[in-house]
Symmetry: C2
Subunit: 203 residues, 2 copies
């Protein structure tokens, strides 16, 4: 088994944090996205979509998409559960995971990819107007999240889950996107400090 990982991007970090929470170690190969190594013929043969990360199993099966890789390991080693337990809790984790991805991760990524000078060769064409359209959506979602985190410890409930992992990676992704958590979002800040203090956050 081998995990193709990249230290600079938020998606591979989601998988690394997940594995750290599980205490699972996987042989890893770094792919330098700033050197376009994810667009070489060698990596394209692994993932034709040229996205990171990818997991190659011993039988040659390739699993891509951060959370698909996470689900694979959740099935192999259910403890500690990071996708919820039981029909209702699992559905709420999935709901919050997707809300965070679609309304927060995707909007911050749009700002970063369509405004940052370092993305000029990776995001073609950059559409600055699309980045600008997303800026208020980032703030709106953080305001919603702040209200939710006033009611509970973690994003999807009383347990740490993949929704927290994605949200943590997104808050940290706001820095290169030149965005900031609103001053008044005290619950988001409390939650972010708590999840950042977990050993897995260093992964």
């Amino acid at each position: 088994m081998k995990l193709y990982d990249s230290k600079v991007a938020p998606n591979p970090r989601r998988t690394r944090i997940f594995l750290a929470e599980k205490g699972i170690e996987v042989p890893t190969e770094q792919v330098d996205m700033m050197k376009m190594e994810h667009r070489t013929p060698a990596y394209t043969a692994i993932n034709p979509l040229q996205r990171m990360p990818s997991l190659v199993l011993d039988d040659g099966t390739v699993i891509t998409e951060s959370l698909a890789i996470c689900r694979y390991f959740e099935a192999l080693q259910p403890a500690p559960p990071l996708f919820g337990v039981g029909a209702k809790e699992s559905a709420l984790v999935e709901m919050w995971s997707r809300r965070v991805e679609n309304n927060f991760f995707a909007t911050v990524a749009a700002v970063f990819r369509h405004l940052h000078p370092a993305m000029k060769e990776l995001e073609v064409p950059q559409v600055p107007a699309w980045a600008e359209a997303n800026k208020p959506r980032v703030t709106q979602f953080l305001e919603l999240l702040d209200g939710e985190l006033a009611k509970r410890e973690f994003i999807a409930g009383d347990h740490f889950s993949v929704a927290d992992i994605t949200a943590l990676c997104t808050v940290d992704f706001m820095k290169p996107a030149r965005l900031a958590v609103p001053e008044g979002a005290a619950n988001v800040k409390r939650w972010h400090a708590a999840v950042s203090a977990r050993p897995s956050a260093k992964a």
Copy 2:
């Protein structure tokens, strides 16, 4: 239990097809998105993100996001399995489900939302340059998918899955987005005819 559904949008259709494949009937209330009913205070109290569909359980729990609702029903009634069986197959279904969502559903949606005159009041601001940037990505993904469907019957393997449901809804969403499946994509056309012929496609 009540499902808030909307006949005009592709996301609620994903959940309806899923339920039809499972043979599950749920009491449903229609929310007319063209009349902005998903933005009323009543619906916003159910889903503050104003997205469709939403499922309200008898204990008042609200589950939003089409595939979170699908996962809820998969856990309640596993047969027929639509998210795969076992660690590896489930991961591959999740991988293809996400590939279809991120590279096909999202790109077609961008074209529709940012170019179609009917979306002027729903997508503010419309960014036509973002729609144009997505058009070639739709074609690129369909070319990839065509090569994959040369090798197997369904998108994620030999069984119909949620990846097929999302892809079916996306191909049908191409019509209002004024996009067409490339003439040469014979495997995509064969697959689309087959999944469209399933009784669930009428849901």
